[in-house]
């Protein structure tokens, strides 16, 4: 009886944090809109580029037509705004460098959970903006958006999307935690942005790369954060491949969890030693 009540109480606390943060996200709606537009710009630019490039190459490049590109980049926009966490800057600059970490350590939640609950409402809010955008586009340009209609594949795709978010979030948390040891971390973050752009398919669909690079990207975790969720929804993979993707995601999540735990434990010692 007691444990059931305390379980419920814990849930209520989580719920309340989430709700407060959602309220905050709604209030800072203009901030969300700006982030959303920022995430939208680069894919849009790529779209414009490809429309000219495909025209110049006679309609198709590497068997991709313009509408293929359009769908791909629209989904990149959606994935960027919804699945990519931006938590690393918050962790590095606000929490570690400025010392806000103390208030998290004092709370009865694990740091990871607190940040996760804080990040989630922003993602949902932005994701809903992105989805409404895509729905509007789909209504006006029917041939531009081609999502799979098979329910099993759709379900697996949703699982992949959720795992992609967890993967991206954990990775970004680790990145942010590096601030425990490096005071000047923006260099690392910039390098990460560059590698991420290429290896996740944000810049160009991974199909366009030569085979050895493709294999490299299939091993690296980045493609599982953006590229595979997208092509899963586009119906380009069969059930077996989808399950393989999920397996790789789980593997990388497992690896990152270990790295996170290790980094957090070590970093926390450094943090309290300095007495920030």
């Amino acid at each position: 009886m007691l444990s059931a009540m305390s379980f419920q109480k814990a849930n209520m606390r989580y719920f309340r944090i989430f709700f407060l943060q959602l309220q905050h996200a709604i209030e800072a709606r203009s901030l969300s809109v700006v982030w959303f537009l920022t995430a939208l710009t680069t894919p849009l630019l790529m779209l414009i580029f490809w429309s000219g490039a495909t025209a110049a190459a006679g309609g198709r490049i590497f068997s991709w037509s313009y509408s293929n590109f359009a769908t791909y980049y629209l989904f990149i926009a959606l994935a960027s705004s919804m699945l990519t966490a931006h938590i690393q800057e918050d962790v590095a600059f606000e929490d570690i460098n400025k010392g806000n970490l103390s208030q998290y350590i004092l709370k009865p939640f694990p740091y990871y959970t607190s940040k996760f609950l804080l990040e989630l409402p922003w993602r949902l809010f932005q994701g809903s903006l992105a989805i409404s955008g895509i729905v509007i586009v789909a209504l006006f340009f029917k041939n531009l958006v081609s999502v799979t209609s098979s329910p099993i594949i759709l379900l697996l795709a949703i699982v992949i999307a959720i795992l992609a978010f967890i993967l991206s979030f954990t990775f970004k948390m680790i990145l942010g935690l590096l601030a425990f040891w490096f005071t000047e971390i923006s260099g690392v973050m910039n390098v990460n942005e560059i590698i991420f752009s290429i290896a996740s398919g944000t810049l160009i669909p991974l199909e366009f790369f030569p085979n050895n690079l493709r294999t490299l990207f299939e091993i690296l975790p980045f493609s599982y954060m953006i590229y595979y969720p997208i092509i899963a929804f586009l119906g380009k993979l069969n059930t077996t491949s989808l399950l393989q993707v999920i397996l790789m995601q789980l593997l990388w999540i497992f690896i990152f969890s270990l790295v996170y735990k290790f980094t957090w434990a070590k970093g926390r010692k450094t943090f309290t030693a300095v007495g920030l």
């Binding site: 800072a28 203009s30 901030l31 700006v34 982030w35 537009l37 920022t38 710009t41 680069t42 630019l45 414009i48 580029f49 429309s51 000219g52 490039a53 110049a56 190459a57 490049i61 590497f62 005071t183 000047e184 971390i185 923006s186 260099g187 690392v188 910039n190 390098v191 560059i194 752009s197 290429i198 810049l203 160009i204 366009f208 790369f209």
Partner: protein, 261 residues
């Protein structure tokens, strides 16, 4: 002149800050050069399957990107860092400190701090550009180089003015601390040739015009493929937008002085 002395003192201060934050400087220099290299790699990847796009050859597009880095290297060093400071000042309510000084407030918000680490990007990009011009056999002349410098200066002024006007909006919308990110991402469109945007709807193209001519025009002038109309347009835009930035800023300050408590 008085503002020149002030500018020199401020540059000296930026140097002092570099010496204090050596790690910071190295890190920024690395990422800015890194972004430069990335921009060249991505244009090479994008054009790997198409030798000619929008009337530009692959070599020309690569050179366009490198020259974009030259111009942006200067812009990021002297002007861009101030925009981060602009957002911070508005967000934390420190505009009063700016207004109390007997120095033009727009100058204080535009040319006060410098991020000299981007000069490395400018340097490497310039050297690489010269190299590419030679091996690609791009026909340049002394006159075309002169025009490149003149038009690049106009481009920097235009880019500055557009960003400044948009940031002035944060006096009304103080929460938009990330607006500068959006502006920087959108103005990245200037690294693509103007022709790429021509087949968009006229309305959209018209809106984007000030941005897309920023890099294309000086570069085309350098290649001796410049169009007089584009060049005049760039100079005119630079003048007009700069004037608007001054008027709008003064207007925003009046609002600030009337509305805030």
């Amino acid at each position: 002149m008085r503002y020149l002395n002030l500018f020199i003192t401020l540059i000296k201060i930026s140097f002092s800050r570099i010496l204090i934050y050596r790690g910071n400087f190295a890190s920024h220099a690395t990422s800015s050069v890194g972004w430069g290299i990335f921009s060249v790699i991505s244009i090479m990847l994008l054009t790997s399957k198409t030798p000619v796009v929008f009337g530009w050859s692959r070599n020309e597009l690569i050179l366009l990107t490198v020259l974009m880095n030259v111009i942006f290297g200067v812009y990021r060093s002297f002007i861009d860092a101030n925009f981060w400071r602009f957002s911070q000042i508005i967000h934390y309510g420190d505009l009063d400190i700016v207004l109390l000084k007997p120095v033009d407030s727009q100058f204080q918000m535009s040319l006060w701090i410098f991020d000299l680490s981007s000069l490395l990007r400018f340097l490497f990009a310039s050297i690489f550009a010269v190299y590419l011009i030679i091996i690609f056999h791009i026909p340049v002349s002394f006159v075309s180089i002169l025009f490149f410098f003149i038009l690049s200066t106009a481009s920097i002024i235009l880019l500055y003015s557009i960003t400044f006007i948009l940031l002035t909006l944060t006096i009304w919308f103080t929460r938009l601390s990330n607006l500068i990110d959006l502006i920087n991402t959108v103005t990245n469109a200037s690294r693509y040739p103007k022709e790429m945007f021509e087949h968009l709807t006229t309305f959209v193209f018209f809106i984007l015009l000030p941005i897309v001519i920023i890099i294309s025009t000086p570069v085309k002038a350098l290649f001796q493929k410049g169009s007089l109309s584009d060049s005049i347009l760039l100079l005119a835009f630079a003048f007009v937008f700069f004037s608007i930035s001054r008027v709008f800023w003064k207007f925003a300050l009046r609002f600030y002085a009337s509305a805030s408590g």
